[in-house]
């Protein structure tokens, strides 16, 4: 079941990896590049849809999601009754 959930979350995970490959360019541009170039590099497009998703945002969302899961497991263990 955990494997299935990870598979369902996979599109979001893929986003982080595209961000990882863009990071060197991003760092180089932050010294020399212009603002439109930087925004273009930060913007990802999901499939054919036109909704731009910033990959940096997806990293933050992933970290928040992971913290939420941890919090949920903390609640679950707290309320567990051992017989």
């Amino acid at each position: 079941m955990s494997s299935l959930t990870v598979l369902l979350l996979w599109p979001m995970i893929i986003n982080v990896f595209s961000w990882q490959l863009k990071l060197p360019d991003l760092m180089a541009l932050s010294y020399t590049g212009s603002v439109p170039e930087l925004i273009d590099l930060l913007t990802l497009k999901l499939g054919k849809s036109e909704i731009p998703v910033t990959s940096l945002m997806s990293v933050i969302v992933q970290l928040l999601l992971a913290s939420l899961f941890l919090f949920l497991s903390h609640i679950a263990l707290d309320r567990k009754e051992f017989k």
Partner: protein
């Protein structure tokens, strides 16, 4: 408040159970082999002439392809399996009941379990990736830029963090060795 000293003691115990004899070896050895062989094949496939011109693209190609074959299966299958094993197994054997009866908080038990699997999976995946890069360096004298390696390290960390947290919540709620993985 979470007491670091208690978490450290629990972590030591959990790390021992995660790195128990056949488990870690079964994961590391085949995956290391796959990674090194794959990085070699990709390096040869690019041809001698083109490698010198495009070292960065080559290293990116290695990371890209090995991710598909190596990182995805290990992340999807092995991490949930290890977490499910150390959480649900302890439910079923009654070790968790014993732990809860000690003067330790349940959050401390949870954090130590999560941290042990998270750190081990991060180290295993990153070190095997590094092994592939080093083999390419030995044969073709090329190193990726440091920033790419750092980016790889960070992204693997984020990935492991998310997958570990998902697996932890499902294992804790289900409590069954059959359903959790």
């Amino acid at each position: 408040m979470i007491r670091l000293r208690v978490v450290k003691l629990l972590l030591k115990r959990d790390l021992k159970s995660v790195t128990e004899f056949p488990r870690l070896e079964l994961i590391i050895l085949p995956t290391l082999l796959i990674f090194v062989v794959l990085s070699q094949i990709i390096a040869w496939g690019w041809g001698e002439g083109s490698i010198a011109d495009r070292p960065l693209i080559l290293i990116q190609a290695i990371i890209d392809r090995t991710r598909l074959i190596f990182t995805y299966p290990i992340v999807i299958i092995f991490i949930p399996m290890i977490i499910a094993d150390i959480v649900t197994n302890e439910y079923e054997k009654g070790i968790m009941l014993m732990l809860v009866s000690y003067p330790v908080k349940r959050s401390e038990i949870l954090i130590s379990k999560f941290a042990s699997v998270f750190s081990i999976s991060w180290i295993v995946i990153f070190s095997t990736s590094l092994a592939g890069i080093l083999v390419v360096y030995k044969n073709h004298a090329m190193l990726p830029p440091l920033v790419l390696v750092v980016a790889l390290f960070i992204s693997i960390g984020i990935l492991c963090f998310l997958v570990c947290s998902v697996s932890t919540v499902i294992s804790t709620i289900s409590g069954s060795t059959v359903v959790a993985p």
